[in-house]
């Protein structure tokens, strides 16, 4: 059976979990779709912003899956993504950075553990602000 639908779902879930983690420091969903190393990496970044009283409110507009390669228990997925986000001071609720629309070209490295695909590493290959 093709692994592609499952890989697409994991990447969509990963990105929704990132939104939740950045906004509410809730890593529950994140733990189901990423490896421990990736969770720790994102956790450090989120904590550093949190210490500066900043949280990110993000919206994932779309993901286009460009290329999916699988080899055994490893997979690489190239995507093209449209996001919008803004930074907020969570104590005052004031906007620290206004809403931005960003286009990303991403490369996801995934690994299959206990029959479940997990995001192991994410690379931003291209980033550009859009209107």
């Amino acid at each position: 059976m093709s692994e592609k639908p499952e890989l697409k779902t994991v990447i969509a879930k990963y990105n929704n979990a990132i939104i939740e983690a950045y906004k509410n420091q809730n890593f529950e969903h994140f733990m189901q779709v990423a490896t421990d190393a990736e969770i720790n990496k994102i956790g450090v970044i989120i904590n550093s912003f949190r210490q500066a009283d900043q949280i990110m409110e993000a919206e994932l507009r779309k993901i286009d899956f460009q290329e999916i390669k699988t080899q055994g228990d490893k997979a690489d997925v190239k995507t093209s993504e449209d996001w919008s986000y803004r930074w907020i001071d969570y104590k005052t609720g004031q906007e620290v950075e206004p809403l931005k629309n960003i286009h990303y070209e991403m490369l996801y490295h995934l690994i299959k553990k206990d029959g479940k695909w997990l995001v192991e590493k994410v690379e931003a290959m291209k980033e550009s602000e859009t209107r």
Partner: protein, 345 residues
């Protein structure tokens, strides 16, 4: 030959039909009773009706009038319904999802999602996550609910990729996608209570699933502090002396009537009163705050390809009955017209 006659007899078919209906009603009420082994009964019914049709076709080789075709259509309609309803339990997807406002819920999140029917474990569903953005309840004369509107965002994976679709679902106006129906089931409000110790340390901070019924009491426990809280919801609170009530079911001025009891002293109230949203009460070196009130909706996600089978089956049955008995009705009408006495003026 006798056995075949028994299998194709009307009595046997009616008996199997009655048992099948009993099974369907039971499965509908108690889904856990379902076992594929019971499918043998509708399978026998299917076989019995099929043999009956085959029997009729061979018996009426020469005399195939319109009544014959009506009867055949009726029986084929029954076959379609028996097959569709029996297969439905195996191939249908049915889940109930609780969506608290602002929380993104994935279909595999067991805290919010209960999947009741997915016996083939058909993975690869197009929905990744659902979120309630806004909820609105409209009332007539500020008393009678006339409309519930849930604005939801649904993360979908289609052939082009991942997209967020936003739609407003209402009672009887579901969101449809790829054979799935997302229906509004019911809604309510969930309060967040915060209990702090005298140093401001948080003992408890959580949204609670409590009854929204104005007329009935509910209860929840804060184990961490050994407290039992009896609550009553007032969406639009008013106070007259010692009495309290709700002016309307609209959440204009939400409050909870609360009685706090220590678990080791159940007959003495530690605190009793009304807390509006944002208010707090102090007792026994603790502070209880009614911090927030969030709406939630319960939605039903259904994919039932057998629906069209049942629909087609009923149409065949109705057409079959019409074709079968219309000539008889016409005959009776003709006889009755011929027998009418003529009157002379």
């Amino acid at each position: 030959m006798k056995f075949l006659s028994f299998l194709t007899s009307r009595g046997f078919a009616v008996f199997l039909l009655a048992v099948s209906i009993g099974l369907l009603v039971s499965w509908n009420k108690y889904p856990n009773l379902y076992s594929p082994i019971f499918l043998i009964i509708p399978a026998c019914l299917f076989l019995s009706i099929s043999l009956c049709i085959a029997n009729r076709i061979t018996a009426c080789k020469l005399k195939r009038d319109i009544r014959f075709w009506g009867s055949t259509a009726f029986h084929i309609g029954m076959l379609v319904i028996v097959a569709a309803t029996s297969l439905g339990y195996s191939i249908r997807f049915f889940a109930m999802i609780v969506l608290p406002q602002g929380v993104s819920v994935t279909l595999d999140d067991k805290s919010f999602v209960a999947v009741y029917e997915d016996r083939l474990h058909s993975g690869g569903r197009p929905f990744v996550n659902l979120k309630l953005n806004e909820f609105e309840a409209k009332y007539a004369e500020e008393q009678f609910p006339v409309e519930y509107i849930a604005d939801i965002t649904i993360g979908i994976i289609d052939k082009d990729g991942y997209r967020n679709l936003t739609d407003k679902i209402r009672i009887n106006k579901p969101f449809n996608y790829d054979g799935y129906n997302i229906l509004f089931e019911n809604s309510g409000y969930s309060p967040r209570f915060v209990l702090k110790d005298r140093d401001g340390g948080v003992i408890f901070n959580s949204y609670i699933n409590l009854s929204n019924n104005i007329k009935s009491e509910d209860v929840f426990y804060i184990k961490e502090a050994g407290l039992t809280l009896y609550t009553r919801f007032f969406p639009d609170v008013f106070r007259e002396g010692t009495k309290a009530g709700s002016r309307s079911p609209m959440t204009r001025n939400p409050a909870f009537g609360i009685k706090v009891v220590k678990r080791n002293s159940p007959f003495t109230d530690a605190w009793k009163g009304i807390l509006k949203k944002g208010e707090s009460a102090r007792f026994d070196n603790m502070t209880l705050e009614f911090a927030d009130l969030k709406p939630y909706v319960v939605i039903k996600v259904v994919k039932d390809p057998t629906y069209w089978g049942i629909f087609a089956g009923w149409i065949l049955i109705i057409l079959g009955l019409l074709i079968r008995y219309m000539p008889m009705v016409k005959q009776l009408q003709t006889i009755s017209n011929n027998q009418q006495p003529t009157t002379n003026n």
